[in-house]
């Protein structure tokens, strides 16, 4: 009965802040699980790495992959301090990963021998390096350790296969949470159906909305007012000046689209709050007053 410690080393999905808004529940997690969490969040060091999935730098946790097997008994204190030092967004994925790993640890049998672990570690390392997709945020030193459950094959190939399958199923679960109304559906085929449906719906919405925007935006406009509205409406001066610098001298095609609507939306997002329609009405009212004052 081979036992391995399982570290999930794939970078967490960028949707974790959307999906797991729950605060970090301070469960009594053992030290090894804490280490799992810490090492499952890859350290995104260079700009090239962050560009792969930019939300990953939210989950930036210091990487100490070499320590993982040296200290088996990790203190809960260090883990909680490091997790508390991250922002709240980190707590979401940590919690779920904890739950996943707690589940796993309950299943496996406890027969650890350090030499055996070390020996099989190297085997898995080779197979894991083989199956790695070459994603830059996973440094080559990382390796995945899999716990073989009772009655399952224990050679390195099947273990690597199982790791891959579990990765895929993890992703599918995340996608399941993202696509609305997909909780009840089980099985890959039906889930893929829902996802395809959702993507098609979103694409159709984009088509429809762009048609709507094309039909509602008026054509004639005066270019002088663009600069005025930009400088007056934009809260942050840096964004406003950058736009005025790039302002074309010709008459714009989508004037009200650009200046009123998009800038309002932009300002709304900058304020960080949800803006109701009344606010929009107020601003547009102010806009129209400025329109009327110019001949």
């Amino acid at each position: 009965m081979a036992t391995f410690s399982y570290f999930q080393n794939y970078p967490h999905s960028l949707l974790d802040p959307l999906l797991f808004p729950t605060p970090n529940s301070s469960v009594d997690i053992t030290g090894i699980i804490d280490q799992n969490i810490l090492h499952s969040l890859p350290n995104v060091s260079t700009i090239e790495d962050t560009s792969v999935y930019p939300f990953l730098d939210e989950y930036n946790v210091g990487k100490t992959e070499s320590d993982s097997f040296k200290k088996q008994a990790n203190t809960t204190k260090t883990a909680t301090t490091s997790s508390s030092s991250c922002d709240q967004l980190n707590n979401g994925p940590s919690t779920t990963t904890t739950n996943g790993k707690v589940r796993r640890r309950k299943i496996k049998n406890n027969s650890n021998s350090k030499e055996g672990v070390e020996g099989r570690k190297r085997k898995i390392q080779r197979s894991e390096v083989k199956e790695k997709r070459g994603s830059k945020e996973e440094p080559p030193k990382d390796y995945i350790h899999v716990r073989a459950r009772r009655g399952q094959a224990t050679d390195s190939h099947s273990l690597a296969e199982r790791v891959r399958r579990e990765k895929i199923s993890e992703r599918m679960r995340t996608l399941q949470k993202l696509v609305p109304g997909c909780d009840k559906v089980t099985g890959k085929a039906l889930m893929l159906d829902e996802i395809i449906n959702y993507v098609q719906t979103l694409q159709n919405q984009v088509e429809f909305l762009s048609m709507k925007l094309a039909s509602t935006s008026p054509v004639v406009y005066d270019s002088d007012l663009d600069g005025l509205i930009l400088t007056s409406e934009m809260g942050s001066p840096d964004v406003g000046t950058s736009f005025t610098n790039t302002m074309p001298p010709t008459t714009p095609i989508f004037p009200s689209l650009l200046d009123n609507s998009i800038l309002h939306t932009h300002a709304q997002l900058q304020e960080g709050g949800g803006e109701e329609k009344e606010k929009f009405v107020d601003r547009s009212g102010f806009n129209d007053n400025s329109f009327c004052s110019f001949p």
Binding site: L178, M211, K212, L257, L258, G272
Partner: protein, 164 residues
């Protein structure tokens, strides 16, 4: 939710830029369809440029938009800018003609590959799902922004009509 807001902000910035670039060099399209195509093109490019990273779908989307509007110089300019940002790593799309998928999952994977831009080039199923995830987030951001803009646009349209 601040990350999602950041996505939307990034998309808005890029969209304004692309719309301005469209304004510069395209003569006034009188047709609603042409305007719609211009808006869609600009927002697609903005979405892909906002995601300026090494995702397959963003590069594939930009190259696909380039193939569609190869004649328009403005599209070329936008694409040139976006390409430079992506360090000239655009992929060329080659569409598969026939789907001969045996099982249900296989068939649906092929269909998903056809939906996500650049999906056909992804061989690893795990990576495909990751790309889809990313693409869905940005699609959603695009839809949300456009919906808000359309709502504001209708409101301002009503107000300007009232003031006249």
């Amino acid at each position: 939710m601040s990350t999602y807001n950041m996505v939307k902000q990034e998309f808005i910035k890029k969209w304004i830029t692309t719309l301005h670039m469209l304004d510069c060099s395209v003569e006034h399209p009188l047709n609603v369809t042409e305007r719609k195509n211009a808006i869609k093109l600009s927002s697609d490019i903005a979405m892909a440029a906002a995601r300026s990273g090494s995702t397959v779908w963003s590069r594939a989307l930009i190259s696909r938009s380039g193939n569609k509007t190869a004649n328009k110089p403005v599209a070329r300019r936008i694409l040139k800018k976006a390409r430079n940002r992506l360090k000239n790593r655009c992929l060329t799309l080659r569409r598969n003609g026939n789907f001969t998928a045996k099982s249900g999952v296989r068939k649906r994977t092929e269909l998903l590959k056809s939906l996500v831009p650049g999906g056909e080039l992804i061989k690893n199923k795990d990576y495909l799902i990751r790309e889809t995830l990313d693409y869905i987030v940005y699609l959603r951001a695009q839809v949300d922004v456009m919906r808000t803009v359309a709502a504001v646009d209708s409101v301002t349209g009503n107000l300007t009509n009232d003031n006249k």
